[in-house]
């Protein structure tokens, strides 16, 4: 573990300046991911800038009726918020499906979507990894790929993004508020994360020194009818093999609007635009759900690997999409 300094600014501009001016500095949220990486040697910053006092720990209401969630809001506090629980079941469920109570009490809303992949080779500095050390090769190719991608991967990196929250935020079209040295900007949540391409070392479109100050949720009344379905190897405290965040709006016997995002399948939360297109305007029938899932997964490229690979994920993702849609529309179908 490299020695580092720790700053605890109380002001966001100051936090940004401290990191933007120092290529060797990093923001520290709850530390539940970054501190592990310090100990493992995966991250070696010389300076840490704690953002939990520099950004808001409040959930406030925006003029358009959606809430603004400050970056320093703890994951646990978010799930306890009554508005969030009533209006965004899929988001609250996604957070509750992740990590453990203790971790959620530390983890922040800004830090959660920025947690890094759980790829075992990324986390082990004795193995090659293009994400950790560009150009060193991808240790996962031909290795343990159970938790790796089936969509949007590249020869350089086949990792998945592990955040559950990020999947739900992608589904509802949240907006990320970002402060940089040149001022503020907003990023549609679905544009926050990237596919690996030939630069897997970059998880997101944020530049060095850009701070997430808050996440804005759209009013989105349809989110009341939503769910987060996470399929994992044990009942709790495990990352998703596949997850589905879905919200649906019915108008008579038709689907008037639908939002679907997938987790555990790609380098970023995977917004299922193709499936949504199949469903919009259609009747909520099992066959249609299957067609929608098949359309979304048409380009899936499963991986071989040491422990059987991840070929099962395509079927699993399809079946989980169908099950989630069935659950959401049960009672509405005749």
């Amino acid at each position: 573990m490299k020695p580092f300094t720790l700053a605890t600014p109380t002001d966001a501009d100051e936090a940004v300046r401290l990191v933007a001016d120092d290529p060797d500095a990093a923001f520290l949220g709850g530390g539940t991911n970054l501190v592990d990486h310090l100990k493992l040697g995966v991250a070696t910053p010389g300076a840490l800038v704690d953002i939990t006092r520099a950004t808001s720990a409040e959930i406030t209401d925006l003029p358009d009726g959606g809430p603004r969630v400050g970056a320093a809001v703890r994951n646990g506090d978010f799930t306890a918020d009554r508005r969030a629980r009533e209006r965004y079941p899929l988001i609250v469920q996604s957070v509750l499906a992740g990590a453990s109570g203790q971790l959620r009490n530390m983890a922040t809303i800004g830090g959660n979507p920025l947690q890094r992949t759980r790829c075992v080779y990324f986390q082990d500095v004795t193995t090659p990894c293009n994400k950790r050390e560009p150009g060193s090769g991808c240790g996962a190719h031909g290795g343990y790929t159970r938790y790796h991608a089936i969509l949007g991967a590249s020869e350089h990196c086949i990792a998945t993004h592990p955040s559950d929250l990020a999947v739900a935020l992608a589904a509802v079209d949240a907006t990320v508020r970002v402060l940089g040295a040149d001022g503020e900007r907003t990023i549609p949540f679905t544009d926050l994360h990237r596919l690996p391409g030939d630069a897997p070392e970059r998880d997101t479109t944020l530049a060095h020194g850009e701070l997430i100050t808050a996440i804005d949720l759209p009013a989105l009344p349809m989110a009341r009818r939503s769910l987060y379905r996470k399929v994992r190897d044990r009942a709790s405290y495990a990352f998703a093999l596949v997850s589905v965040a879905a919200a649906i709006e019915l108008d008579g016997d038709r689907i008037s609007d639908v939002r679907i995002a997938l987790g555990g399948v790609a380098h970023k939360p995977w917004r299922a635009h193709r499936a949504e297109a199949v469903l919009r305007g259609a009747r909520p029938l099992e066959e249609t759900f299957e067609t929608a899932a098949a359309a979304e997964l048409a380009d899936a490229r499963p991986l071989d690997g040491v422990d059987g690979g991840n070929g099962f994920k395509t079927t699993l993702a399809a079946r989980t999409i169908v099950a989630a849609l069935r659950d959401l529309t049960e009672g509405a179908r005749s």
Binding site: M1, K2, P3, K39, G41, R118, V120, Y121, Q123, D124, T126, T127, G139, G142, G143, Y144, V231, R232, D233, R234, A235, S236, Y237, A238, F239, L241, V306, D307, G308, G311, F312, T315, L316, R319, T320, V322, A323
Partner: protein, 694 residues
Amino acid sequence: MSDLLRPVAIGRDLVRRDGMDKVTGRARYAYEADVPNASYCRLVQTTVARGRVEAMHTDAARQVDGVRAVITPFTAESLHTDGGELAVLQDQEIAFRGQVIGLVVADTAEAALRAAELVEVTCSTAPHDVALSADRDDLYKPEKVNPSYETDTSDGDVDVAMAAAEVTVEQTYTTAMYHNNPLEPHATTAFWDGEHLTVWDSTQGVHPTRAVLADLFDLDKEHVRVICPYVGGGFGSKGEPHVHVVLAAMAARAVPGRHVKLALTRQQMFSLAGHRTPTIQRMRLAADRIGHLSGIAIDVVEHTAKMKEYAEQTGVPTRMMYAAPNRATTHRLAALDVPAPSWMRAPGECPGMFGPEVAMDELAEALGIDPIELRIRNEPDVDPETGHPFSSRNLVTCLREGAARFGWADRDPRPRAREEDGWYVGTGVASSVYPVNRMAESTATIRFERGAYVVEIGAADLGTGTWTTLAQIAADALGVDVEDVSVRIGDTRYPVASVAGGSSGMTTWGSAVVNAARAFRDKHGSAPADGAEADGSTEDNPATEQYAMYAFGAQFVEAHVHRDTGEIRVPRLLGVFAAGRIINPRTARSQFIGGMTMGLSMALHENSVLDPRHGHVVNHDLAEYHITTCADVTDIEATWLDEHDPHVNPMGTKGIGEIGIVGTAAAVVNAVHHAIGIRVRDLPVTLDKLLPGL
């Protein structure tokens, strides 16, 4: 040995004497030993699986603030050893990935870690080989299997039985590689005072650890003290000292006057603290139509380390479990470039009751006989292996009692017969067995001090309850109130005690305590003077020549398989055991359900993924190496028969630390099969193995 103690304190569900100290954090574990002048040790490991260390550059490491010593294979002191796992830093050869090739001692743990990262290593590499398979051409037959069983056995002719049988089952089953993963990591604090070495070590046996250290450092045993009042779990991985103990002692010698603390990281526990070998079990069962076995055979293939042989006795339970006239067992090993496998809860029986108990279920299915009934039909009158009678064998009662409690009678044997809320529901059963083991050497001292009795013995409490249960035994042996007995364990200052392993603790240490109590009364009568004292030791039990001694059990599982996703949940687990007399129902229950939970974990979750390209276990932390969580265990119940066995020892106990993990995984597989009709023969049972059949 028919006079069992009259149970007065024995049988009471007393709370653990050490419980309050543990839950309030007052109990100090090895790393927390309250010592002055602490320094911290961090290890340097190889990143190749085979080869040679050519050079190590330690200048940068030495320059880190607070670093006091750096030791490499080029500079380490010579140990008195001729090789093997503990010959650490003795030469430049690399036998497995993660092997320790250096250490750093510094004033803070962080400085030690930093310095360890800065040690530069140059290695030459050689091709490594870590892939186990049954068709390797270099499998060999070990001399013996752990600890000293015959490698192969054969009675009658299984081939002939198979050829003549009306019904046969011939299948191959596999269990994964597992790591013990106690909550408390392997940790040692070490201190030298001249030629006297003191270590606080997290160990299952202070005396065995002392013996090893005395040999390695060529010291008089009396000059080595090992202290270990509490252990945060070991499951066998702290049964024998691993390299960290030796390294802590080497490190401490390099910084005279200082206490050196060394704790393995979780990742290091995957290469430096033993593991359970994966096993490949080819099973053959031959039976007639009414389900009488005419033949049973198991051929086991498993791995060992090139550096040190360890042969898991996987085939052993098949030798005695069921009445089949033709029986055969074999063990073959592949010697690989892996760390040394070692003991993990119920070595032998745990993996070795997987294949056979699933195969029995497959036979029951093929015959159309209830799996409980099939087992009852194959109940032997005497031990099939030795021909001796059993000192007590209540497997059938366990099966029947369990069936009644579990509601087995209403079971529709057809797969997919039950579906509830989108989940297929199935139930399964398997038998458990574990031998009654007694170790050779243990002595207890009982002294009368200020109106109360003090029992001293170098025994260990792994969290199992020894602090409490030895007091219960002593109280009944002395005929006094349990409150008037205090116990001192976990220190080589007390009389020699055997390792806490093989579920032998109560039998071995308890027998010593009973003998000490009897000697005490013989010598001092019922009104002893202050300071009166007597010793007692464990003796051989002549009854072991006349009787086969085992504990038995039956495990019942309800498994749910999700119709859409194939997710598997086990909402109900029941174990019924016949394990002699139970000293303390509270601590016993915790042993049984702990074992069963670990068995469930083996069934559904645990799986050390050994990447053959790199040569190490890549999912080496508790986020990726899944162990069953509380949410996975919703309703778990363990119960036991009131079993009287006058032959085993004066307490009538059989040992309960391990039997709980035996058979669980088979019962889970059988229940999953009943739920959806898919037979998973390779552990763990994960949803990807079920999806294709959904």
